[in-house]
């Protein structure tokens, strides 16, 4: 017999977590099945709802109108809560198709108020499918479930500097980044560590300055205390900053050392860093009123590490979100895991769903594959598909076409592979929009526009009709549609 529950969510990313939370909060016995870890550890940990208008080419994939209609003319260099007029004015020219979007720090048209922009989105966009109220509900749930995030006091986007020196318009951000906002006019120094090459503080500072931030900013690079290997992991820095330890020098005999559990006697890692920063700051022109570090200030006790650094430095300290691997993403993942545990959601991670059985237009059970190929049937009344996009492997693309591999849901895409890509490397690639089409209950639709299964809902990056990277909507869409899909699944069970 199958292992049973009321609702099964497939996929352990943001969308899957919020679907499971919603279903469990609706009183359903919920199970989450996921193959591997999600993209959370790669993402910045920022909760972007909508940072930029969708690019002009949405129409190409048949999922909506030309989105240029909804572009903003807000080309001020930062979004500003006091300037609601900045959004919603139609100015199709604001989006420059040649604009290498991912790199340009203050390109035209960051959206000031995503909630004003959402009703303007083209038909087929995930936000359009679930509606503004559902987006608000999803975020409200996020605010309730996750501690240590800021941004719920306003609808307006904040601009958070990231490691590349780009100020990112985002709706919710970790409190550890809060002192770093680009709209804040306190002068800042960014601190990088020699061996942590992903974050080049001087380059990031220059880039922010070039973007026109309203404060003086400079970057310094210091050596991390202790003898860290050149490719030490972000988690290693976090561990040392959190425990405030300096790893012992390697034993000369190569004997039973290696493990860095024994701190060099009494040395404080954070004190040593602060000392180095003091020396380095002497060489730059900026007198910092706040100091930013790459986001590796601990994994579980970040608040403590940050407060101690601020104390020692005498100015507020903030984290600058980094690329993968991302501690803020890991911390968020931990919190979401706890939220599932509190709600008695059972998680089976480590194994993929490979097949389904269905009768009469309803999914009967899932076939979960174990290592070695034995299979385990799992059944529920309703299901949520939250397997991610091309990165999360919810969508497969190869020579023969584009598919959704578990349920074989219809994925609209041009037959001709050459039409999947735009000419420019950073162009508006149709493939970024690939995903399943859904009705307003988030049920995947077949080629005729009918629901594939009555009891299947989809959420997150597996959905088509949006390009989360270009419009900065990754986390927001996953949370909103995840929450909505989980609620719909609970209702149907």
């Amino acid at each position: 017999m199958a292992i049973e529950s009321d609702v099964i969510v497939i996929g352990g990313g943001l969308a899957g977590h919020f679907a499971a939370i919603a279903a469990a909060d609706a009183g359903k016995e919920t199970r989450l099945v996921t193959a591997n870890q999600s993209t959370l550890r790669q993402a910045s940990g920022l909760i972007d709802v909508l940072g930029y208008p969708p690019a002009a080419a949405v129409g190409e994939t048949g999922t909506g109108d030309a989105a240029g209609d909804h572009a903003s003319d807000a080309d001020s260099d930062r979004a500003d809560a006091d300037d609601p007029d900045a959004v919603g004015e139609e100015n199709p020219n604001a989006v420059d198709a040649e604009d290498p979007r991912p790199d340009a720090p203050f390109r035209s048209g960051p959206i000031v108020d995503p909630f004003e922009a959402i009703p303007e989105l083209p038909e087929g966009h995930p936000y359009e499918r679930v509606g503004l109220a559902a987006v608000r509900e999803g975020l409200a749930t996020f605010d309730e479930v996750v501690d240590g995030y800021v941004g719920s006091h306003t609808d307006a986007n904040a601009l958070v500097p990231t490691h590349g020196g780009v100020a990112k318009p985002t709706a919710r951000y970790p409190e550890h980044t809060a002192a770093g906002l680009a709209s804040d006019d306190r002068d800042a120094v960014l601190v990088g560590f020699e061996t942590l090459t992903d974050f080049d503080a001087p380059v990031a500072a220059d880039s922010l300055a070039a973007g026109g931030v309203p404060f003086e900013v400079a970057g310094v690079t210091v050596r991390f205390p202790g003898d860290l290997r050149a490719d030490a992991k972000a988690t290693r820095y976090a561990e040392l900053l959190e425990t405030d330890e300096v790893p012992a020098p390697k034993a000369a005999d190569g004997g039973s050392s290696g493990a860095a559990t024994h701190a060099s006697q009494g040395r404080s890692c954070r004190a040593a860093i602060v000392e180095r920063i003091r020396r380095a700051v002497g060489d730059v022109d900026v007198d910092p009123e706040r100091i930013g570090f790459p986001a590796v200030l601990g994994e579980e006790r970040t608040a403590e590490a940050r407060a101690d650094l601020a104390d020692r430095l005498g100015v507020p300290v903030f984290e600058v979100p980094t690329g993968a691997p991302s501690l803020p993403g890991i911390r968020l993942e931990h919190q979401l895991g706890d939220a599932l545990r509190e709600r008695d959601v059972r998680v089976a991670d480590g194994r993929p769903v490979v097949d389904v059985s269905a009768t009469d237009g309803r999914v009967g059970h899932l076939v979960v594959e174990s290592a070695g190929g034995s299979t385990v049937p799992m059944a529920a009344d309703s299901y949520v598909l939250a397997t991610g996009g091309l990165v999360g492997r919810g969508i497969d693309a190869d020579r023969d076409g584009v598919r959704e591999p578990i349920f074989d849901c219809h994925v609209p895409h041009p037959d001709d592979r050459y039409e999947w890509f735009a000419d420019a490397a950073f162009g508006d690639h149709p493939f970024a929009y690939f995903g399943v089409d859904v009705d307003r209950d988030l049920r995947p639709l077949d080629a005729e526009g009918e629901p594939e299964y009555a009891n299947l809902h989809a959420a997150g990056a597996v959905l088509g009709g949006y390009d989360f990277a270009a419009e900065n909507s990754g986390a927001g869409v996953s949370i909103a549609t995840g929450h909505a899909a989980g609620s719909a699944a609970a209702e149907g069970s």
Partner: protein
């Protein structure tokens, strides 16, 4: 401080070390063992016998001929010919010059998710992490960089990186293969490091001796002086106490009770107990038998050897292949007769399901992999376990303590990290408290090496803290070496999920 080695649960085989009784000498391959298994090594490359210097220490000394369970005495099970001589398997990774570049190596997009999951990289500055050990080293080796970086020896084979990778890069397979090459090509067979690996990975040998003279062995192994000597000479830490040998092995109990007590045509399971449940924690094996029989299953206990887990982790792939060949042959024969394979140790089920097919091409491997289950998982699939537990008459409130549960890494990798919690939910009166998803840090034989002891305990810290925080004062897990670490770090008694099922459903078993 002498002689009491409080280990109950652990198994997977690996943990032992010894006083050097293994350190005999002689060459391995000419011994009795090769009778049954040497043919496996026809790997298409150079015959492996040539690769093995005759000076190899640690003879199998004929002990091995005594694989538990003589062919044919599967205790109540049907027969299963052990056709040791019939197959001619081929190694997947033929030899060191022609490394197979798995497609997986190229699907790495360097997201580093694996690195953030590696418990060793987080605490050990000499370990470059799974991304390097796996795909990067793999790519390098394509460019004729023949040496395997010796840091491979620091990987504990917890397989967390496998589970992490969003694109299914077969990291642990790469690590296992690289480690095998490292041991074969770069490690002197005369080195202490090699000897230690040999000892730690061949637990069954010592197990057989230990169970012949359990009291003497327990006394000797528990002796501080002996432990000090093994620490200094072999690098096997003296911080740990060696697991205690049971006075009666599981197999001898099984024979004594006359094998299977239930016959069935359509409900049949073949039990892979591995070395640890046999020699050290027979109560786990007994629990499995009693629980399955209570559901009407006919249980077979065929001849078998160590699952190979400690051998993979130590790079002793030839040893592992020999053991695997016996296991695959025996269990495959039973599968033909309608049996499914069940394991009580999650590292054993991981070996049969994933590592065998990844590393060896033994006839029947795929079929065994596809028909192997964790014992509790099997019951969850085939029985209404929840209902049965809820209806059980046991007054768990009085009889059973609350439990602090740790999911072994290898259970996590099979998607089983939370099944014990669900089992616990269904048992009225018992709280099973999850102590979090950190690694216990012992990873089989890993934490037994003096040079890794500190790393192992640093990794385990998080789990120890969570155990102390939990109300429960008894531990529960499915992996014998995790159990050992849990006991070592907290002093708690640690039990197996099957024992909880047994206590609830059958009302027999060891006292709680």
């Amino acid at each position: 401080m002498f002689g009491h080695a409080p280990d109950d649960g652990d198994e997977s085989d690996e943990t032992e070390s010894s006083c050097g009784c293994e350190a005999g000498s002689g060459e391995s391959d000419g011994s009795a063992e090769s009778r049954s298994t040497s043919e496996v090594r026809s790997d298409g490359g150079e015959p492996s016998d040539e690769r093995r210097p005759t000076s190899e220490l640690c003879s199998d000394g004929g002990i091995d001929a005594d694989v538990p369970g003589d062919p044919g005495s599967a205790g109540g099970a049907g027969s299963h010919p052990s056709s040791d001589d019939e197959f001619e398997p081929v190694q997947v990774f033929p030899d060191s010059t022609e490394q197979d570049l798995r497609p997986g190596a190229d699907s790495c997009y360097k997201c580093s998710t694996c690195d953030t999951n590696c418990p060793v990289a987080e605490v050990d500055d000499e370990f470059p992490g799974p991304k390097f050990q796996g795909p990067e080293q793999w790519r390098l080796s394509r460019d004729d960089a023949p040496e395997i970086d010796d840091s491979i020896d620091k990987c504990s084979n917890c397989m967390r990186c496998d589970h992490a990778c969003p694109t299914d890069v077969p990291l642990s397979q790469m690590h296992n293969t690289a480690r095998g090459r490292y041991v074969d090509d770069q490690l002197s067979k005369l080195s202490i490091q090699y000897l230690r690996k040999k000892i730690l990975s061949n637990y069954g040998r010592l197990g057989r001796l230990g169970s012949l003279f359990p009291r003497t062995t327990n006394f000797v192994m528990g002796n501080r002086a002996v432990r000090w000597i093994t620490d200094r000479t072999l690098g096997i830490t003296d911080e740990r106490e060696f697991p205690e040998f049971a006075t009666q092995t599981f197999r001898s109990w099984w024979d004594e009770r006359g094998g299977a007590q239930v016959q069935s045509e359509d409900r049949r399971v073949a039990y892979f107990h591995g070395d640890y449940a046999n020699y050290n924690t027979p109560e786990v094996g007994k629990a499995l038998v009693r629980v399955f029989e209570s559901f009407g299953y006919e249980v077979a206990v065929p001849r078998q050897r160590c699952s190979g887990t400690p051998m993979f982790a130590n790079g002793m792939l030839d040893d592992a292949r020999r053991a695997a060949t016996v296991n695959v042959t025996e269990f495959d024969a039973l599968i033909e007769e309608g049996y499914d394979v069940v394991c009580s140790c999650t590292s054993c089920s991981m070996a049969l399901r994933q590592e065998y097919p990844e590393l060896f091409d033994i006839d029947g491997t795929e079929r065994v992999a596809a028909n192997t289950y964790d014992a509790v998982e099997y019951l969850r699939i085939h029985e209404d376990l929840r209902e049965e537990l809820a209806d059980a008459e046991t007054d768990a409130d009085d009889e059973l303590p609350d439990l602090a549960y740790h999911a072994p890494c290898h259970a996590r990798n099979q998607g089983l990290a939370e099944q014990a919690l669900e089992v616990g939910d269904a048992v009225e009166g018992v709280d099973v408290d999850d102590v979090g998803d950190s690694c216990s840090g012992i990873s089989g034989t890993y934490g037994w090496k003096s040079k890794h002891y500190d790393t192992s305990m640093a990794i385990g810290d998080e789990m120890f803290d969570h155990m102390e925080d939990s109300e429960a004062e008894t531990g529960m897990t499915e992996c014998p070496t995790c159990a050992m670490q849990m006991e070592h770090g907290t002093g708690y008694d640690v039990r197996h999920t099957l024992e909880l099922l047994e206590a609830t459903l059958v009302g027999e078993g060891e006292a709680w």
